[in-house]
């Protein structure tokens, strides 16, 4: 390439231009002011495809500063490819410090999980959301669903839960399980397993949700009521696992199934990799844990 091509394209701190960041911050503030309400925003094209976390990335890019410490997880893990890719993106365009440790992060961007380690006041959890509208598969029309939210007409949501029980004997929604935020808006918690729903309830951390393709931002401010929808005689319940994590022995955590061979051999391990490593570093181990010692701390300073 010739010399000119080096300045053919340049980018701002954290990729987005400042006008755009201000616009997104306004949407975030509105979302915080009306917990659970989906604020339309002029979502930008991002350098990763729609559906790959563009909403979360835009939220993170708009709130991140040079002193932040960022953690990115996908499926609970820091080392899944998309998490690696988004973390690398912010290292490159914002030059911020990154970490895999939940407790050390000031911003945690996540897809499909909430970390096992309880979050603290001052931390921000940024969710990537594919379909922000909890009523979407009951009513495909945006004009209609917005009206239903405005008028608080949520009977249809319970119709779906009713149908689950009638057909399957139980509520068969296992992830993206709808919640009611602060007694008003029915909200999609993003496709986290319902196991994580209780963690949203009165969390000290600020929870922000970004849906890039669908152009919506919503928020659950700290210490806000988040209640999973259910029936009195079929109360909400989280998944349980028959066995603890095979590596760290943790119970009451969400587990991934790992296939060991093609004869049906499998084991269950923590989906939250940081949590699992921390526990093993602290001396816990499960029945299939390797003997080798693991390096626990993984924080890379800002450049």
């Amino acid at each position: 390439m010739n010399a000119q091509s080096n300045d053919i394209a340049t980018y701002n701190f954290a990729y987005l231009d400042e006008q755009t960041k201000r616009m997104i911050r306004r949407a975030i503030l509105k979302g915080i002011a009306i917990p659970g309400y989906q604020v339309p925003f002029a979502s930008r094209e991002m350098p990763m495809p729609y559906g790959w976390g563009t909403g979360g990335v835009q939220v993170t890019a708009s709130i991140i500063g040079p002193d932040d410490v960022l953690k990115v997880i996908d499926q609970g893990a820091d080392d899944t490819t998309n998490a690696v890719s988004i973390r690398a993106f912010f290292k490159k365009v914002a030059k911020v410090a990154v970490t895999t440790e939940t407790a050390k992060a000031s911003i945690i961007q996540t897809r499909h999980r909430i970390p096992e380690h309880p979050l603290n006041a001052g931390q921000v959890l940024v969710f990537q959301v594919p379909i922000p509208e909890p009523l979407r598969f009951l009513e495909p029309r945006e004009t209609e669903t917005r009206k239903m939210h405005a008028l608080e007409e949520y009977g249809l949501m319970h119709v779906k839960l009713y149908e689950d029980i009638a057909k399957h004997g139980r509520i068969a929604t296992t992830y993206a399980y709808p919640v009611k935020v602060e007694g008003r808006y029915v909200t999609d918690p993003s496709p986290t397993p319902k196991f994580d729903n209780p963690k949203m309830h009165r969390s000290p951390a600020l929870q922000l949700f970004g849906a890039g393709r669908e152009k919506r931002i919503y928020a659950v401010p700290p210490f806000t009521d988040v209640v999973s929808l259910d029936f009195e005689d079929h109360p909400f319940e989280v998944q349980t696992f028959d066995q603890p994590c095979a590596l760290c022995g943790a119970e009451n955590v969400y587990l991934d199934e790992v296939i060991l061979d093609d004869h049906g051999g499998h084991m269950f391990v923590c989906s939250d990799t940081d949590h699992c490593e921390k526990r093993r570093a602290d001396g816990h181990h499960g029945h299939l844990a390797p003997e080798t010692h693991l390096a626990s701390e993984e924080t890379e300073p800002a450049e």
Partner: protein, 258 residues
């Protein structure tokens, strides 16, 4: 309580551009009274029904409704939220085509239970028991409760639609050709059922129909419409046995001869 009407409609008109939908219609409806609105297609009876039920906004005129607390409210000044709430609690609307009034892809039980859930019932067992009760009242077997209305016959669908509307104990039901499109034998059974329910529950109803037999069987009072205007109204038996307006005479004679 019954010395006051339930609904007062005054000088109601609806125009579509220069075309008249209905013009200057005035009537009162009393609690427990069934009013039939008859006329040929294009006479404005469905426009009137849609205006009174607030599915359409009229061009001029007023309609007031006496709420459960005895307060009179002007329908066209209510917020959309209030109107929608009224429509799913104190009112019912039975469409000619059941597919317009049912959720075709959810079970019969959920169709009946939806209104209960919409007003905050959160007990699955109770909702289901109520649905079972209502299905039996409209003569649908309990074991069809988890079937979707797609699997139902036309008559069953219409009965399911009626159950879905009546489950919240409304005081006023709007019906648009409720027996239209059904076989004659099915029609007769449905009319019997409707008549029984209306009497048992003390429902007020406005029934739009082009079928004078339906009006005769269900209503105490009727209005005859032509070209958007009411040409005659009165007690059903009187209008049918002693029609005064020439148009009503024509209507009665032509239909009774068949």
């Amino acid at each position: 309580m019954t010395d006051e009407p339930l609904l007062r409609v005054s000088a109601l008109s609806k125009f579509y551009g220069s075309r008249v939908g209905c013009e200057n219609v005035t009537f009162d409806l009393w609690p427990g009274e069934v009013l039939a609105v008859v006329g040929e297609s294009g006479s404005g009876k469905t426009t009137l029904l849609n205006c009174v039920s607030t599915r359409l906004l009229p061009s001029s005129g007023t309609a007031s409704y006496r709420m459960r607390d005895g307060q009179w409210r002007e329908l066209y000044r209510m917020s959309e939220a209030e109107r929608r709430f009224l429509m799913r609690t104190d009112w019912g609307f039975v469409h000619q085509n059941p597919a317009d009034g049912l959720r075709m892809t959810v079970s019969a039980g959920a169709n009946v239970g939806e209104r209960l859930m919409a007003v905050g019932d959160r007990h699955y067992g109770r909702i289901r028991a109520t649905a079972v009760d209502w299905l039996s009242r409209v003569e649908i077997d309990e074991d069809r409760i988890d079937d979707e209305p797609r699997a139902f016959s036309g008559g069953m669908r219409q009965r399911l639609q009626i159950a879905r509307n009546l489950v919240t104990g409304p005081r006023l039901v709007f019906m648009d050709e409720p027996t239209g499109g059904l076989d004659v034998s099915v029609q007769a059974r449905l009319l019997d059922l409707l008549r029984g329910l209306v009497t048992d529950l003390g429902l007020a109803a406005i029934v739009v129909t082009h079928d004078l037999a339906v009006a005769r069987l269900l209503s105490q009072r009727m209005m005859v419409m032509k070209d958007g205007r009411v040409v005659e109204s009165g007690l059903t038996d009187r209008v049918l046995d002693d029609p005064r307006a020439p148009y009503t005479q024509l209507l009665v004679s032509s239909i009774l001869q068949v």
